[in-house]
Amino acid sequence: MPALEMSQVRKVYGADDQQVVALNDVDLTVDDDEMLILVGPSGSGKTTLLTVAGALLRPTSGSVKVGGVEITDLDDKEAARFRRDQVGFVFQSVNLVPFLTARENLLVVRQFGGSKIDGAAKKRADQLLDELGLGGRGDNLPSQLSGGQKQRVAIGRALMNEPPLVLVDEPTSALDSELGKQVMDLLRSEIKGRGVAAIIVTHDDRVLGYGDRQVQMVDGVLSSAAPATATTT
């Protein structure tokens, strides 16, 4: 069963003559162990696609199935639970709670919705931090971490609940090329090592080689499998 199936998904922002068609009848399927790279110029609708796939935003029309379950008709509470259990997000902007340490930023996902932070959760958080090269940084607050370290903590947070679908928005846009490469290597090994599905959104050429497949988006329309070398922003 595919991890994500979007069919005829349309998202229109605004009303009347101010309308912006961010997703124009998009069809997209991501297999359950596939790492998909989504490229496209700024404003083309990439973030909107991630938001719809992760139940943060309801599409104007169309169907979105995650793990075979239709998510466009979830109510707010169900959508929150779905995001907690089924999706790992790495956002382009704010990713960490500033008053929680790196370890606590991973654990916080476990705490809400009636679950408990048990020994297993703590062990998993420490193990993730180790894998991400943050073994000694668990007790640091985000303000004590560099940009690359923060990005890695965010990746750990996204993976903490073992979600079947990981959605990553512009992971390297705030990093220099060396750090960007490190973070992408890590993302790839974490995602492929777990065999989960992922969509990595980028308009950064350096990222292109990392995925199993690559699709391009222009003005809300997906064009499949653009050649890796030909795609730029």
Binding site: L57, A80, N95, V97, E104, L107, I117
Partner: protein, 369 residues
């Protein structure tokens, strides 16, 4: 829970500041209440603690004991009325007395020590049994006079044989004596053997009779008097209403300040951590969990402030016991503290509304990590 307490720990300084601000307001509130309590009980204690069920006034006194004088025939008329079990004259007058060489104001209460002129309960010692003996009760504002001490009034030496709590009149050191001694003191002061009439009559009703009905019936049947059951007489005392009202205004002001301080604090806090809250919502935290964590913080911070304030006030009152003999009333304190905590929770409605208005979608909007 987790996030709420972690945040408090990481920003201990600002949460402590709010707690201390609340504590300060609680101290003021409880202190005002202690002062108000001492003031009112200094005024009302005498009537409030009286063993009389009904008090009889001269109708022209308009329920002010200081203006009331009861003509002698009324005593007989009252004692012969139905449902009246016992009657005692109550003579009230302020004298200059001396004790231990110091001149003091003394409120003398003359009456029948075995009848309804004395406090229903005594704290220590016994009631006066004859001439030259007195039962003492002070207000919180003056030095207590102890059993065995002598108070001289107009050439009569009164030995204090017992004490009662909260049974003072007019915020003065009050001495309950026999009506005969009260008469002598009044005559000695006048210099001639004037006729001394009681200010009030204390009445005990027979078992099963309703004091309010007996009072009503006495007022109807005897010309020139007005009778009230004791609680009504206490409420009618001059000055009490004004004190209560003035202090109520202060309480309301303090409650408003508590609400504003707490409300604004948590609103600012919520605005400041808006990004973090958006993120938490985006990664799957339910809005209820986020609201709960705000309310938990309010409870912890305001609750801690209230506890600190109460403890400090109790300590302060204990330290100033000799100067100002007031202590916390546990019912009033509990109610005030509960009111402040509830008020804090209500005041955080602004913060809660902001949390509820968060759209988790905002997490996808740009900015740097």
């Amino acid at each position: 829970m987790y996030v709420a307490f972690k945040e408090i720990r990481r920003s201990l300084g600002r949460f402590t500041l709010l707690s201390l601000a609340v504590a300060l307001l609680v101290i003021l509130l409880l202190f005002f209440q202690a002062v108000a309590g001492t003031l009112t009980s200094g005024l009302t204690g005498g009537l409030e603690s009286s063993s009389a069920d009904v008090l009889v006034y001269d109708v022209r006194a308009r329920l002010n004991p200081a203006n009331s004088l009861i003509p002698a025939p009324v005593i007989t008329q009252v004692s012969e009325s139905p449902d009246v079990a016992a009657v005692s004259p109550i003579g009230l007058s302020v004298f200059t007395g001396t004790t231990d060489g110091d001149e003091i104001d003394v409120q003398l209460v003359g009456g029948d020590p075995t009848g309804p002129s004395v406090p229903a309960e005594i704290a220590d010692g016994r009631l006066p049994q004859g001439p030259g003996e007195g039962l003492f009760s002070g207000s919180g504002f003056d030095n207590p006079i102890e059993i065995g001490q002598t108070v001289s009034v107009e050439g009569i030496d009164f030995e204090v044989v017992g004490t009662a709590d909260d049974a003072a009149f007019n915020l003065l050191p009050t001495l309950y004596v026999t009506f005969e001694d009260f008469t002598s003191a009044s005559q000695n002061r006048a210099g001639i053997p004037i006729e001394v009439a009681p200010s009030l009559l204390g009445v005990i009703v027979v078992d099963g009779a309703d004091p309010a009905e007996v009072a009503e019936q006495l007022t109807q049947s005897i010309v020139g008097i007005e009778a009230l059951e004791r609680p009504a007489a206490v409420d009618a005392l001059p000055g009490v209403g004004q004190i209560t009202q003035s202090f109520n205004i202060l309480y309301v002001l303090l409650y408003i300040v508590v609400a504003i301080v707490t409300g604004v604090f948590f609103l600012i806090l919520t605005v400041q951590k808006q990004d973090a809250l958006v993120l938490l919502r985006a990664i799957g935290t339910g809005s209820r969990d986020v609201v709960t964590s705000v309310l938990i913080q309010v409870l912890v911070v305001v609750g801690a402030g209230a506890v600190i304030g109460t403890v400090v006030t109790a300590g302060l009152l204990q330290l100033t016991r000799d100067v100002f003999g007031a202590s916390l009333d546990s019912t009033t304190t509990t109610l005030s503290v509960a009111a402040i905590v509830v008020l804090g929770l209500l005041a955080s409605v602004g913060a809660v509304r902001r949390v509820l208005a968060i759209d988790p979608m905002q997490a996808t909007r740009s900015g740097a990590i």
